[in-house]
Each structure stands twice: as structure tokens, then as C-alpha cells.
């Protein structure tokens, strides 16, 4: 496909399709951003093209921090995402190492079980899980999310880390064991430092999923200031009057920004994590 370098050829094969994809995939973000910087009155003024900003304003953003619980939502989302990610990653390191390196009764069966757990969607479990959360008296506390999110994170993270640990040559471990290191020492001192890219992929994956989660957060954290960003924005900022578009879009932009930021820094790790499951199996 590298063959012909003539401009018309490249135009038809690359640039035109690329323009189509960029417009299609990025237009909603462009739209959200410009609406978030417009004063409400400008939205109603149909003389202007709605695709550009006539008058720039920060008022939609300041409104979020002054008049809504956005600060609280941000704090909640951050706490839940960080703790849940650390918890899931720790469990997944152990599972991934055990499945990659150790032979023990039931390991094959457990490997398949972990993979199937990855395919269990939250919508299948949320009603009975609401009951479990109520029974444990953790409803409307951080624990309700910190403990339930790992069910969605551990399976994929374990799978990914297992694949990563398998790429590390066994000889390294064998020589360390001959020198008298224990298995756990080897895991902590040799395997983990060699697996930093895999850990980053898994960690970013977990954090993103926590930050983006909606269904469990909607049900288990229902009181105003305990909500996470996606749930708070969707359930508290959409009001009956028609004046909310600017701050609604501002909240959507702000809530998406940290994820987009982290992602653009670690895009390589994210993509390798995402495709590891699909390409390598």
C-alpha cells in the first residue's frame, strides 16, 4: 500500500477518509467544548452559526464549582478510582503470577473462570448486588464502589499480567532460586520491576474503568454529595428548565479531561493493554 506516492492517490486513500473519520469521531467533543464556552443567550440566537463562539465566557465552569457539588464528585471519583485500582492491581499481580508460573490443583479451571468473569456484564448482577451492598451496610459509602469495581477489573488485569509475566524468561527466576531467593522475593524484586509496562497498562485500564463506571455508581451512591462525576452530572445537572446546556457541557468536558490527559500520555501502554486481550487471547 506504500507503492504509489502520487498526490491524488494519497488524497483519495488517506486524506479524504481521514477527514471523514476525524469529523465523525471528534465532532461531539468539539461541540461540547464550544457550547461550554458560550453564554446561554448565544445558544438561542439563531442568527449566528452555532458552530463557532461569538462571545467567550468561563461562567459555565465557575457555575459548576460555585453552585453544584462538582468538587465533591471529583473528590469521590478520585478516591474510589485510586483505591479500587490499587486493590485490583494487587490481587491481579498475585493471580497473574500464580496462573503464569505455578502449577497447582485447579489452575486450568481457575484460568478459564477468570476469563469468563471478564465477560460477566454489570447489568446481569446489579439488582442482587444492590441487595448485597445493603446487607453489608456499605450502601452510600466509598466501600460500596471500592469493593464492587474490582469484579470488573481483576479478570482483565489478571489476564493481561499473566500474559506479561509469561514473556519473562524462566531462567532469570531459576538462577535466583538457586541463589536462595524465595518465590515471593523473586516476584517483588525481579518480576515486578521487569513488568513495569504491563503494570502501567493494567493500572491505566483499571483507573479508566473506575472513573467511567456508571451503573453501580448510579445505584450504590445515590445521595447528592456522595455521587461520582458521571452520575452526578447526569442526574443532578439535567433539570427541567432549558438553561443548563452550557454548564452540562462544561461538566462533561471537565469530567472527561483527566482521562483524556492520562491516556494521551500513556497511549502506547493503553493500546497494548487493550489489544493484548484481543490479539493474543
Amino acid at each position: 500500500m506504500v507503492g504509489s506516492e502520487r498526490f491524488t492517490n494519497r488524497l483519495m486513500n488517506i486524506y479524504l477518509p481521514l477527514v471523514f473519520y476525524i469529523v465523525f469521531l471528534l465532532f461531539p467533543f468539539y461541540w461540547m467544548s464550544i457550547v461550554s464556552f458560550k453564554p446561554t443567550n448565544d445558544l438561542f440566537d439563531l442568527k449566528f452559526s452555532p458552530f463557532w463562539i461569538q462571545q467567550f465566557t468561563w461562567e459555565n465552569y465557575t457555575y459548576l464549582f460555585r453552585e453544584t457539588d462538582f468538587n465533591e464528585w471529583l473528590k469521590n471519583t478520585l478516591i474510589v478510582s485510586v483505591v479500587s485500582t490499587v486493590l485490583s492491581l494487587s490481587c491481579s499481580i498475585f493471580i497473574g503470577y500464580a496462573l503464569a508460573r505455578l502449577r497447582f490443583p485447579g489452575s486450568n479451571f481457575l484460568g478459564v473462570g477468570i476469563f469468563l468473569a471478564y465477560l460477566v456484564p454489570p447489568t446481569l448482577l446489579f439488582l442482587p448486588l444492590a441487595q448485597v451492598v445493603a446487607e453489608l451496610a456499605i450502601y452510600n459509602t466509598y466501600w460500596a464502589l471500592i469493593l464492587t469495581y474490582p469484579t470488573q477489573l481483576i479478570p482483565f488485569a489478571s489476564w493481561l499480567l499473566m500474559g506479561y509475566f509469561r514473556t519473562i524468561p524462566r531462567e532469570i527466576e531459576e538462577s535466583a532460586m538457586a541463589d536462595g531467593c524465595s518465590r515471593l522475593q523473586i516476584l517483588v524484586r525481579m518480576i515486578l520491576p521487569l513488568s513495569v509496562p504491563g503494570l502501567l497498562s493494567a493500572g491505566i485500564f483499571c483507573f479508566t474503568l473506575c472513573w467511567n463506571e456508571f451503573l453501580y455508581a448510579l445505584i450504590f451512591m445515590s445521595s447528592g454529595p456522595m455521587k461520582t462525576i458521571p452520575v452526578g452530572v447526569v442526574s443532578d445537572l439535567i433539570k427541567a428548565d432549558t438553561l443548563f446546556w452550557g454548564s452540562l457541557m462544561a461538566a462533561a468536558v471537565l469530567g472527561s479531561f483527566p482521562i483524556a490527559f492520562i491516556y494521551s500520555f500513556f497511549v502506547k501502554y493503553y493500546v497494548s493493554g487493550l489489544t493484548a486481550g484481543a490479539v493474543k487471547g
Binding site: I14, L119, V233, A278
Partner: protein
């Protein structure tokens, strides 16, 4: 395992438990397995039990056999829900796969700024769906829709389009938003498959006089068939069991024309507090999800 009671015993015993592969393996599995048991396996069986009762929220009901499942079979909203879910999960996949393939083929070419472009087009898949869906919520708004504005500006329509309020149009609108969200996933997965195709194969085929279409058909396609299939199966499973995109855009309306299993189970189980019936709605997903999961598992095992 018989000596597990001695875990807290002398250092020598603990050491040997942690050193023997069979015991260490099980010990390492425990923390994660415990979380999955309490918050995944237990709720799953609790859900089966709930679906066999007439429980309401906060009040455990009586065992009523399969009545919830039978009642749903005669519920016209449930029929509509099942149909909508099929459309939503199956009709969108060919679009996502085709658009994703196109995207991957474009991104696989040499061009300037290819890294930032790759990062940017992934955004619909990365950012919180509930929030990006708010963008679509406004794009589909009966008053402020930029699509309506554009069409009106060029004289194609005289009245704004009611994307989400028109019962006939609503399902297409939510499908469009879903295709938008899923296309980058296919794109990036297929791109990874494309990059695994050895360049020599293309060059050899080109020397043999194969045209672009022939090379695509006989070199590229066999290499990416597997990746496309896996991406499609994962996508069907996720879309089938979706919730947030529909919840944000329509909450299942207008007139239940966009309810899918997840949103209808929420509506019945939590809003109407009929948690037994809601659990039955969710469990109707299980056999269909299992079929897709088993196909995926069998395929992956064969590849290994």
C-alpha cells in the same frame, strides 16, 4: 493444604507453604478469588433466587417458581425490549466493524502526525461514556441540534428533527451514538492485527503482480480475520448488556421503543421496586451471553 492451620506457625513451616508451588498458587489466588466470590458469584446465585420470588425492594418475598419468567413472555414491553436489544447489539456491529476496518487501514499508512491522530480518534472509546453521551444528547436535541441547524441552513428540512422523541427514529439515534463509541475499538484492534502482517508478504505479492484489492483479499484479510471476529464477539457482548448510553439518551423511551434488557431491568427492579421481576429480566440475558462467551472461549482455545 492439610497443614494450613500452621500458617501462623514457625517460620520454617510458613516458608515451605509459600515455597511449594501447589500451596503458594492457591494462597496467591485467594484475595482476588474472595472478592469475585462475594461480589460476583454470590450475587449471581442470589439473582437466580430473587428471580424465583415475588420480592420487592427491602422485603424478601415468597418462592413462586418460574412465574416471573412466564409473565415476561406475555409482556408486550418485554417483547419490544428483546427486539430492541437484538437491533442495538447486532445491527450496530457490522457498521462498527466496517468503519473500524476503514479506520485501521487509513491509520496503517505512513503519514505525518500519525501518533497524535491515533490518540485523538480513540477518544470516543476512552472518555466516560455517560459524559460523551451528553454531547450526543445535545446533538439530538429537538431545539439545539446542530444537525437540524445544518439541514435547515441548506434547505433540506423545514422543521427540526426530533431524533430522540420520535418513536420510529429513536432506536436509530441511539444506534448511531453506539456506532460512534464502538468504531475506535474495532479500529485500534484491527490496526494491531494489520501491524502483525509481515511487510515481506505484501512486497512478495506486489512483485507477483497482485493489485491492491488482491493483496487486501489474499494477504491482509486472512491475517486479520481472527482479530475482527474476537472484536465483534466482545462488542456484541458489551452492547447487548449496555446500560448507560440508553439511560442517558432516552431512559428507554419514547413509549419503550429504546428499552434494552439493562434499562428495563432497572426500570422494573429499582424504579418500580419489583426486584424479583427485574432479576428475571436481567437473567434472560444469561443464555444469550453464554452462547457468545462460549464461542469466544472455544475460538481462543483453538488459536492457542
Amino acid at each position: 493444604m492439610a497443614r494450613q492451620g500452621e500458617l501462623r506457625g514457625t517460620a520454617v513451616t510458613t516458608g515451605s507453604l509459600l515455597e511449594r508451588e501447589s500451596s503458594l498458587g492457591i494462597i496467591l489466588m485467594l484475595p482476588g478469588a474472595l472478592v469475585l466470590m462475594v461480589f460476583m458469584a454470590y450475587p449471581f446465585f442470589l439473582g437466580i433466587w430473587l428471580s424465583l420470588t415475588d420480592s420487592m425492594i427491602g422485603q424478601m418475598g415468597e418462592y413462586i417458581g418460574f412465574r416471573n419468567f412466564a409473565d415476561l413472555l406475555t409482556d408486550s414491553i418485554f417483547h419490544q425490549t428483546a427486539w430492541n436489544t437484538m437491533v442495538y447489539a447486532l445491527v450496530t456491529v457490522p457498521f462498527k466493524a466496517a468503519l473500524g476496518l476503514g479506520l485501521a487501514l487509513v491509520l496503517n499508512q505512513h503519514m505525518r502526525f500519525s501518533n497524535p491522530i491515533r490518540a485523538a480518534v480513540m477518544m470516543p472509546w476512552i472518555v466516560p461514556t455517560a459524559l460523551s453521551t451528553l454531547g450526543w444528547f445535545m446533538i439530538f436535541d429537538p431545539v439545539f441540534s446542530p444537525i437540524s441547524w445544518l439541514f435547515k441552513h441548506f434547505g433540506l428540512i423545514t422543521q427540526n428533527i426530533n431524533f430522540l422523541g420520535d418513536p420510529k427514529l429513536a432506536i436509530s439515534s441511539v444506534c448511531l451514538a453506539n456506532i460512534w463509541r464502538g468504531t475506535p475499538f474495532f479500529g485500534i484492534t484491527i490496526l494491531a492485527g494489520l501491524q502483525a502482517v509481515p511487510n515481506e508478504l505484501h512486497e512478495a505479492a506486489a512483485i507477483d503482480g497482485a493489485g491492491m484489492w488482491h493483496r487486501f483479499r489474499h494477504v491482509t484479510v486472512p491475517h486479520i480475520k481472527g482479530v475482527v471476529l474476537i472484536a465483534a464477539l466482545l462488542s456484541v457482548i458489551w452492547t447487548f448488556a449496555d446500560f448507560q448510553l440508553i439511560y442517558v439518551l432516552t431512559k428507554g423511551g419514547p413509549a419503550n421503543m429504546t428499552h434494552i434488557f439493562g434499562t428495563y431491568a432497572y426500570q422494573i427492579g429499582l424504579v418500580a421496586t419489583d426486584i424479583g421481576l427485574g432479576a428475571a429480566i436481567a437473567l434472560y440475558m444469561f443464555p444469550i451471553l453464554s452462547v457468545f462467551a462460549i464461542i469466544l472461549l472455544v475460538y481462543l482455545r483453538r488459536e492457542e
